[in-house]
Amino acid sequence: MTALPSTRLTSAPDSRTLFVIKTVFLGNPVTMVAALVIFIFICVAILAPLIAPYDPLAQSYLTINIYPSAEHWLGTDQFGRDVLSRLIYGSRNSLIFGITAPFLAAIIGTTLGVTAGYFGGLVDRLVTRLIDLLLAFPELLLAIIIMAALGGGFWNIIVVLTIAFVPGFARVARASTLAVKQEPYVEAAISVGVRTPTIIIRHIVPNIAAPIVVLMTLWVASAIRLEAALSFLGIGTRPPHPSWGNIIRDGLNNIFGSPWPIIGAGLAITVVVLSFNLIGDAVRDVLDPEGGE
């Protein structure tokens, strides 16, 4: 990677934001391509109703399992639905869940982690036990367990993905808070009588933001993958609404009829997850140079 500043972030990260963005996105052509891919997918998701050639739910029995043609660029599935339109609409689900869930998890997890790390004692013990409990399960298993209890549906998926990611954020936030708490400027703030909420918001949170942001970008990819996995298992996005996961699931039984839903959705997941991972790695390299392997 490019030459990176080895100093730790101090209390004024805002001044560096522009630098970070510049380093992350312009520093490496691969990351630029990844950013471009994500930008394109976000545009596709937002403009889905305008660019999708067909209604993604409309079935047509005269045109089932058609191979790619001028009318249907990626063919049709076993219900005669246009595969490309379904992929385009599916990107909405994937991106909404992929971005919303890590964002919510970051807020909740950071609150929990900072509270535990700053106050210590009983609060710390309770929160860490809870985190340990949740971390004992792999994300996917945890998501399946909660999903089985709650059932499918948009908000339930958000809740499930958020719960699955909260412990990771909480753990990182707590560890960072413990470190930042020892810094002289925090001790100084305490000694001059600054109120606790102000200390947390003004001095702790900005200084632990870097690893949280790294985690968030990395977990967008995980969230997209997790949503696809849940939908593939039939407990995520409900049919007939398309999501990349349930497009693959639907396609699997019909693999001899038309492999295009599986190829299309599989590629879409791979490309988007890869792009988010590349960006996540780049962000980590810039913000947290010591944490790299």
């Binding site: 219900f79 409900r238 007939p240 599986i262």
Partner: protein, 535 residues
């Protein structure tokens, strides 16, 4: 990042699978000609005892080759009228005028497998005795409730006495799978072991039973002559893709088909000479509407649903495998009604405008949402997805959850589903679906103790119970059918359940196998004793 790598592998392998599909695998020629292999859609065999509960479709195939019933239908058919039954273990039979006493004269010199001696009336009494004994758990017990007693005046005569008349007793009881005659001596000697090493009179005997499948060998002393092919292997491949590939590579000769739109054309595209043996009507697919739940408790909403669902279109999606239904009973069977025979208001020709009007009248001018769930098995899932799309056109949004097959059945049994689609195979005995789906006594219960009346018909609103009593007391076949048609009209008026389509059970067969007969209808299994490799 471990999970990430795993996910990548999963996606890569999915792509790999897709790539491999591209190869056009020709049907391999000339396997051994002394063995026929059939692969069914189940994970593993459970047993080859006709009285055992929890049998899979593959087990039924084995049972059908290993055992015999007293009478049978012609291979590949159902006997739809009393005259169409043929002798099997019984050479002849007669019924009393009130159709309540049935006497069977057994064939002499029928040998059991493994040197267990001649089949006599004692074995028949033993078989039915177990079905009639309430303390023994057996498969299909409910089918035999009408039998009051079984007696054997001599070694070769068996007399059944019924509680109520049954002109179709051969179809409703004698020719059913759990009524296959088992060897009393072998059963008493082997106990539970009988499930895996059964003794019957059929053309094949079991030589090996394992999780991989069931291996059968022709029984030399079979009363009807030795089977054409010496060895029969019944394999279990649950995954549809794996099963299809096994067939394409010639590894298996016959496979259970996939009942989703477009499957047959795909198979034909890959190898044009594949033969498809399909039963007609096959399974009855009916949509049960829970009369205790809003908005389905409103007749106008049910009528709107009926007008919105286009059975003809759904049937067309499945091609030759499906026929549209009108009422409860498949159109191929006696007791069914046709659109032409119905009054105008009960025909429910597909009409979206009318559906919207009815919804508005019911107080849902802006549409309505109904939550339901269905099984992930391909036939359930695909029918419901088509229904969902048709309802959407009329402003009815079906919030559909697609869940595991056994969970689906368990949840249906607990009365949790507002709109269960039920796929069931029935013989041409019209009282069977009516009693199981529409009688008040079969109503589903939240604690799971109820049966298959998922609509709560006869409990939530007045049903057809009086008419069902009359049907069951009617000894004459023709008059019985007339009463059944009356029930059909009442059901179409109240709409507790909607017949959707019948869907054939289909087996894809390598053209090098000759079955010896043509499959037309019948249960989801057929005899293989005349099957041979002809290459």
């Amino acid at each position: 990042m471990g999970i990430s790598r795993r996910a990548f592998l999963a996606q890569a392998s999915a792509l790999g699978a897709v790539a491999s599909v591209g190869f056009n695998v020709n049907i391999a020629q000339a396997q051994q000609s002394d063995t026929i292999t059939i692969a069914l859609a189940a994970r593993a065999p459970n047993g080859v005892n006709p009285q055992q509960t929890g049998l899979t479709g593959g087990d039924n195939w084995a049972i059908h080759q290993v055992f015999n019933t007293l009478v049978k239908a012609d291979p590949g058919t159902f006997a739809t009228t009393p005259e169409e039954f043929r002798p099997s273990l019984a050479e002849s039979w007669e019924s009393s005028d009130d159709a309540r006493t049935w006497t069977y004269h057994l064939r002499r010199g029928v040998e059991f497998h493994g040197g267990y001696g001649e089949m006599t009336a004692a074995d028949v009494l033993f078989t039915f005795g177990r079905q009639l004994d309430p303390s023994i758990v057996t498969n299909g017990k409910v089918l035999y409730q009408n039998i009051q007693g079984v007696e054997a005046p001599d070694d070769y005569t068996v007399v059944f006495t019924l509680e109520r008349p049954d002109p179709l007793f051969n179809g409703s009881c004698i020719a059913t799978l759990p009524a296959n005659i088992i060897s009393r001596a072998a059963f008493e000697e082997r106990g539970d072991e009988f499930n895996h090493s059964p003794v019957g009179t059929g053309p094949y005997e079991v030589v090996d039973f394992s999780t991989d499948g069931i291996v059968l060998q022709a029984f030399e002393d079979h009363f009807d002559g030795i089977a054409a092919t010496p060895n029969l292997r019944i394999a279990f491949i649950a995954d549809t893709t794996a099963r299809t590939l096994a067939f394409a590579s010639g590894e298996v000769d016959m496979i259970e088909g996939v009942r989703s739109p477009g499957w047959i054309p795909q198979m034909q595209q890959r190898s044009a000479d594949t033969i498809f043996d399909a039963t007609a009507p096959g399974s009855f697919n009916s949509l049960h509407l829970n009369l205790t739940q809003a908005p389905l408790d409103d007749l106008r909403v049910r009528q709107a649903i009926r007008y919105a669902i286009n059975n003809e279109q759904i049937a067309a999606a499945y091609g030759e495998l499906a026929t549209p239904m009108v009422g409860v009973i498949a159109s191929q069977f006696p007791g069914s009604v046709s659109k032409e025979s119905l009054p105008e208001n009960l025909r429910y020709e597909h009409n979206i405008e009318r559906a919207r009007e009815l919804l508005a009248e019911a107080g849902y001018p802006d549409g309505v949402m109904i939550s339901a769930f269905t099984s992930q098995r391909e036939d359930y899932a695909s029918i419901m997805l088509i229904v969902q799309e048709q309802l959407r056109a009329a402003g009815i949004e079906l919030d559909l959850q697609i869940i595991d097959h056994s969970t689906f059945h368990a949840d249906n049994r607990s009365a949790r589903n507002a709109m269960p689609l039920q796929s069931s195979s029935y013989p041409p005995v019209p009282t069977q679906p009516l009693l199981q789906w529409l009688s008040a006594s079969a109503v589903v219960q939240p604690d799971g103790t109820g049966q298959n009346n998922f609509s709560h018909y006869g409990v939530a609103i007045d049903g057809v119970d009086d008419l069902l009593e009359q049907v069951q007391d009617e000894p004459d076949f023709e008059r019985r059918i007339a009463l059944v048609e009356e029930i059909e009209q009442k059901v179409l008026t109240d709409l507790p359940l909607l017949g959707i389509i019948t869907l054939s059970y289909v087996i894809a067969r390598n053209p090098r196998i000759d079955l010896g007969f043509e499959v037309q209808s019948g249960y989801a299994y057929w005899p293989l004793n005349q099957a041979r490799v002809v290459s």
